[in-house]
């Protein structure tokens, strides 16, 4: 099986500072792959480089084709959708308009059906469709960001820190939904600081340390390994 996403020696520099030193990994179709690591390890940078938001060197292949240098808006059309850190909801628009933007690239007749599907997934959003997105709570904004990304019907969904700043109970809900989305057939590349939760939903995990891959393998094996337990899961 060809991987859905293949990253080969990807490097990114912010000015003179190198943020990624040639990392490589693969995401297979249908799986949840997670990138874990500390602050500044280069997790978000990796996602930004993949979706074309920042310049990078090295090779990124999506569904077998190279997507290096392809602009972010074209990638959305091809089925690669990036749900950015900090949610990126449009606070100047209503929840409903935000969802419309998610389906911006689509012209098919299935949009109302998909909208119904994500509103079933996030009933809270249905109650607030007319409300301005800026007035939602952090958790609701996160739900909106994920719902909006799903409306693009991505083959691959890049999720950046979906649990950031959320109450523990909400974190549970969000991860439950991530699992559900995956079971409905969307491949997910998940960036998380909450390694504990991430390793529970993921099939495959990549550990980043200061811009390089420190470890990678099946999520279960990594969750059991001593190094990961010590550094990221807080078990002595």
């Amino acid at each position: 099986m060809t991987p859905l996403l293949e990253v080969n020696s990807l490097s990114v520099a912010y000015g003179a500072i190198k943020a990624l030193h040639g990392i490589s990994f693969k995401v297979m179709p249908g799986e949840v792959c997670t990138l874990i690591g500390c602050n500044g390890a280069g997790k978000s940078t990796t996602l930004r480089a993949i979706s074309g938001m920042i310049k990078s060197s090295g090779e990124v292949k999506f569904a077998g084709e190279s997507i290096s240098g392809v602009s972010p808006h074209t990638l959305v059309r091809r089925g690669l959708c990036h749900c950015p850190e900090g949610r990126g909801v449009f606070a100047n628009m209503s929840v409903s308009e935000n969802l419309d933007l998610g389906a911006f690239t689509r012209h098919d007749a299935d949009i109302p059906k998909d909208r119904e599907r994500v509103l079933t997934l996030f009933p809270r959003l249905r109650e607030r469709l007319k409300q301005s997105a800026g007035t939602l709570s952090g958790g609701e904004q996160q739900m909106l960001a994920i719902a909006r990304a799903l409306l693009a019907r991505p083959k691959l969904l890049l999720l950046d820190e979906p649990s950031l700043g959320l109450a523990p109970q909400l974190v549970q809900t969000i991860f439950q939904i991530i699992r559900e989305i995956n079971q409905q057939g969307t491949t997910i590349l998940l960036v998380e600081q909450n390694a504990h939760m991430a390793l529970q939903v993921a099939h495959h995990a990549v550990v980043l340390e200061v811009g390089a891959v420190a470890m990678s393998g099946p999520a279960k094996e990594l969750a059991a390994s001593d190094a990961v337990r010590k550094a990221y899961l807080g078990h002595g």
Partner: protein
């Protein structure tokens, strides 16, 4: 009375013109967060290209002579098209390479483009002398309203009272006890004061009956401006492209992640703003038919007045620009009227003073403008 009503007519006509021009400033600020100082020169070119195109349709000189009514529409469309293309070119060549540069660099580039347009227009294309705009619209009035010969005579302290009545709600709204005042009082209170002052100061004008004239030109200006603004409102709030424009204006990288072609949307916004500016130039030229040369200081002030309208309405806000246009025009025209009432004959020469006084006032009391959204500097 006559003066007052004539001032009102002028206010509405000029207000719609300022609003059109202000829209260009506010839209570009909305997507790119810089003040396009070359916008006033697009307005000038709108006026001059209208003059050139109107020359093709000209039908002799003389009182009341004018081309058929639809030529105005064609000239307007041609001027808008030309300026749209120009706006597109300017954005591509001058601003796009600076997309990631600090905003100050873009601002300086805009001033450079402005000077380039002014001087090439003056010395290469249109010449250094003012030219008359061929008549496109009859100079006969649509309606003449005869009024009783009352006259309002205000002394400066009465005028001060009016200004205070308008300013008071803005001041009071900040106080802690403001919540106890009913909302309608904010409008009704000042309105009552102004009406009272006018009533108290109305005198017999001395038997000179004067007429209020509503010119066809004014009607054309208001109708064209309203038509364009309604169309813009529909485009921005009723279409997918408009939604993309609003997304880009909120956050460019995130808009791109929605699959929006950001470069296209920015170019489109520029073209749209330039076309509205061209319409403003066209309307200005039919209202004031002696078109000044492109580097004339009067144009700069016209642009600045519209810019003040955009800031007062809330820069970045489309509805704010429309509101600001009418508001600034009212301040300007009623300022002229009021100062004239006080017996100062040179009142029109001070018209920009009133406008910038309002700018300073708004920046002090509500810096984000009337309909703008407040921005917080994050530290």
């Amino acid at each position: 009375m006559t003066d007052l009503l004539q001032t009102l007519v002028t206010t509405i006509a000029l207000g719609s013109l300022y609003a059109l021009i202000a829209l260009g400033y506010t839209m570009v600020y909305g997507v790119l967060k810089f003040i396009n100082f070359a916008h006033s020169d697009i307005v000038v070119l709108g006026a001059w290209t209208s003059l050139v195109f109107a020359g093709w349709f000209a039908v002799g000189e003389g009182a009341g002579a004018a081309a058929p009514w639809w030529t105005g529409g064609i000239v307007l469309a041609m001027a808008m098209l030309t300026c749209g293309v120009l706006g597109f070119t300017i954005e591509r060549l001058a601003y796009k390479p600076l997309r990631k540069a600090p905003r100050l660099n873009v601002l300086i580039t805009a001033i450079g483009i402005s000077l380039l347009l002014q001087n090439s227009g003056q010395s290469l294309i249109f010449g250094p002398r003012p030219k008359p705009m061929p008549p496109l619209i009859t100079d006969r009035p649509l309606a003449t309203i005869a009024l009783p010969d009352w006259d309002v005579n205000l002394a400066w302290y009465w005028l001060l009272l009016i200004v205070a009545a308008i300013a008071a709600p803005f001041m009071v709204a900040k106080a802690k006890w403001a919540a106890r005042i009913p909302k309608w009082a904010y409008v009704a209170g000042p309105a009552a004061v102004i009406a009272g002052v006018l009533l108290l100061n109305t005198t017999d004008g001395g038997g000179q009956r004067q007429d209020v004239k509503i010119l066809w030109v004014d009607i054309a200006i208001v109708l064209t401006a309203i038509l364009l603004m309604v169309a813009l409102q529909f485009l921005v709030y009723g279409t997918k492209l408009g939604q993309a424009m609003r997304a880009v204006s909120f956050n460019i990288p995130n808009a791109a992640l929605m699959g929006i072609n950001v470069n296209f949307v920015i170019s489109f916004t520029f073209v749209l703003g330039s076309m509205l500016g061209a319409a403003g130039g066209f309307l200005y030229a039919i209202k004031y038919p002696l078109v000044s040369q492109t580097a004339d200081a009067g144009w700069v002030l016209l642009g600045l007045t519209a810019f003040v309208a955009a800031v007062v309405g809330g820069i970045g806000s489309i509805r704010g620009a429309m509101l600001g246009g009418f508001l600034i025009s009212a301040v300007q025209q009623f300022g002229i009227w009021g100062v004239k009432q006080m017996g100062y004959d040179n009142a029109p020469a001070l018209k920009d003073l009133y406008v910038f006084a309002v700018l300073i006032f708004v920046l002090l009391v509500k810096p984000e403008g009337l309909l703008g959204r407040p921005t917080r500097e994050k530290v």
